[in-house]
């Protein structure tokens, strides 16, 4: 599958996301604690843009009245009806088999580009600088 460039790693700090449109499809790429996860930017329930949701933890309880919050930052609550989705899988918490949003593979690669900030006019000799930067790619 062709890889599409999403953007620089530095553009998408942990807890945020970036939306790219690839062949007419909106894809939201989330940085979850340094890992990048790409989901179709449409809630499988009624189509809200998941990128506008809120990133939260997973409330759990084995005993009524005792609350635990696990997996901080790994759960997306849809901006509309608040259904919870696992950012790592795209699956809904309440119905993981039946309700999920499409997930795409991501990768982080180094990208090289010539340095543009050399101040050529004033120095006698210049050296071309190659900057390596990390970029996020998504396979669509």
């Amino acid at each position: 599958m062709p890889k599409e460039r999403v953007g620089l790693v530095s553009e998408i700090p942990p807890g945020s996301n970036k939306v790219v449109t690839v062949r007419g499809r909106e894809i939201a790429v989330f940085n979850v604690g340094g890992d990048f996860h790409a989901l179709l930017n449409r809630c499988p329930h009624e189509g809200a843009k998941l990128s506008r949701g809120i990133i939260v933890g997973l409330p759990e309880s084995e005993v009524p009245g005792c609350y635990q919050l696990s997996r901080p930052g790994e759960i997306l609550r849809c901006p509309w009806h608040g259904w919870e989705f696992d950012l790592r899988t795209g699956k809904s918490h309440c119905d993981p088999q039946g309700l999920f949003t499409r997930q795409y593979k991501t990768s982080v690669e180094r990208e090289t580009s010539p340095d543009s900030c050399g101040d050529a006019g004033l120095t006698a000799e210049t050296f071309p600088v190659i900057v390596e930067e990390a970029v996020v790619l998504v396979e669509v």
Binding site: V56, P59, E60, S61, E62, V63, P64, G65, C66, Y67, Q68, R77, H81, G82, W83, E84, S92, H93, C94, D95
Partner: protein, 351 residues
């Protein structure tokens, strides 16, 4: 004292006995309460919220004092009933003084044993509890549980507080420990207006409010985690109506997906919890007259969810025509035998 086991008894899950006045309880009250009741005239505690006290709601040929003989003829023999679960509502369950409530409820259970259970072996009863004070209610359950003719614990649908709240849990703990379902019966102690918009003018509106009360109370038990805390507990909604159940479940399953984070101990769709823990008695049937629609509703409700009841002496049907149109004979048999036996463990051991 119990009969030879009958593997296929016909069970009536809701038959009403009426306590005419508190004075009937005098033999079962201690000296203090005896004197309180007699000297203060605490004798007429019939409930506004018990439809048994509305003559218009009583079947004409079943009106009049419910003596043992009348119950035997009209409610047991007439339907060929093998086992009937008796529910008795009275002001004991509504007075504000918890100690008075405990004294009267205890006496009512004694009265049930002496005047009913001991006189006809077809009869079973729900334990009457002072639910105004859940710890005292739990004590009463402990006291009665050894008598296997008590087969469930009786609450009303609208009382001091939402039924799921933790202050109610001593009742559920005791009931679960003794394998007793909680029978939540229609009725109100009028602590709160029947409707969210206040006090309506007519009895008929109070009655209409009951089915909504069942919905909000069932939701309370689910959200508060009663069935998580008491995984073996069963609840029988009695005189609740049944056709509200499907649309109620659609809505709360959907709400659960968005609001589960508020009650994270609710780990399954509420409809699954209800299917496992809750049953409903079928009379008064609140469906339409069209048998085709009735059959569709039965399918939506699930026939395993319903239990047969005559709701004696309330006027839901004529003669012995207790099956509403759309309920076929096979279904009625399951509602009368299989479903109750699965719901009430004590019926199996004693029938």
């Amino acid at each position: 004292m119990l009969r030879q086991a009958n593997p296929f008894p016909k069970v009536d899950c809701d038959l009403h006995l009426t306590l005419p006045t508190t004075s009937e309880l005098l033999p079962f009250l201690d000296d203090y309460w005896h004197e309180q009741v007699t000297s203060r005239g605490i004798d007429r505690l019939e409930l506004t919220g018990d439809i048994s006290n509305l003559p218009a709601a009583i079947r004409p040929d079943w009106r009049g004092p419910a003596t043992l003989e009348r119950v035997q003829t009209c409610a047991l023999d007439a339907f060929d009933t093998d086992i009937a679960i008796c529910n008795c509502l009275y002001g004991a369950q509504a007075v504000y003084n918890a100690d008075l409530a405990a004294a009267l409820c205890g006496a009512m259970n004694d009265w049930l044993v002496a005047n009913w259970l001991s006189k006809d072996e077809r009869l079973r009863a729900s334990i009457i509890v002072p639910w105004q004070h859940p710890e005292l209610a739990a004590k009463e359950i402990e006291r009665r549980a050894p008598d296997r003719r008590f087969v469930q614990v009786l609450l009303m649908v609208l009382g001091d507080r939402p039924l799921g709240q933790r202050s109610m849990w001593p009742i559920y703990a005791a009931a679960e420990a003794h394998g007793l379902p909680i029978g939540v019966h229609a009725g109100s102690t009028y602590r709160f207006a029947p409707w969210t918009n206040g006090w309506p003018s007519y009895h008929i509106e109070d009655q209409a409010a009951q089915s909504v009360g069942f919905q909000t109370q069932l939701l309370s038990m689910i959200t508060e985690g009663v069935f998580k805390e008491f995984p073996k507990l069963r609840v029988v909604l009695t005189e609740s109506g049944v056709t509200w159940l499907p649309s109620f479940l659609w809505r709360i399953d959907k709400l659960w997906r968005g609001l589960r984070m508020e009650v994270p101990w609710v780990k399954r769709p509420p409809s699954e919890i209800v299917a496992e823990h809750v049953r409903l008695t079928m009379q008064p049937f609140d469906g339409p007259k069209d048998p085709q629609i009735v059959r569709e509703m039965i399918e939506q409700i699930g026939e395993e969810m319903m239990l047969f009841s005559t709701d004696f002496p309330h006027w839901n049907f004529e003669q012995a025509e207790f099956a509403p149109t759309g309920f076929d004979a096979d279904l009625m048999n399951r509602l009368r035998t299989g479903n109750p036996l699965k719901t009430y463990p004590r019926l199996q051991e004693t029938s």
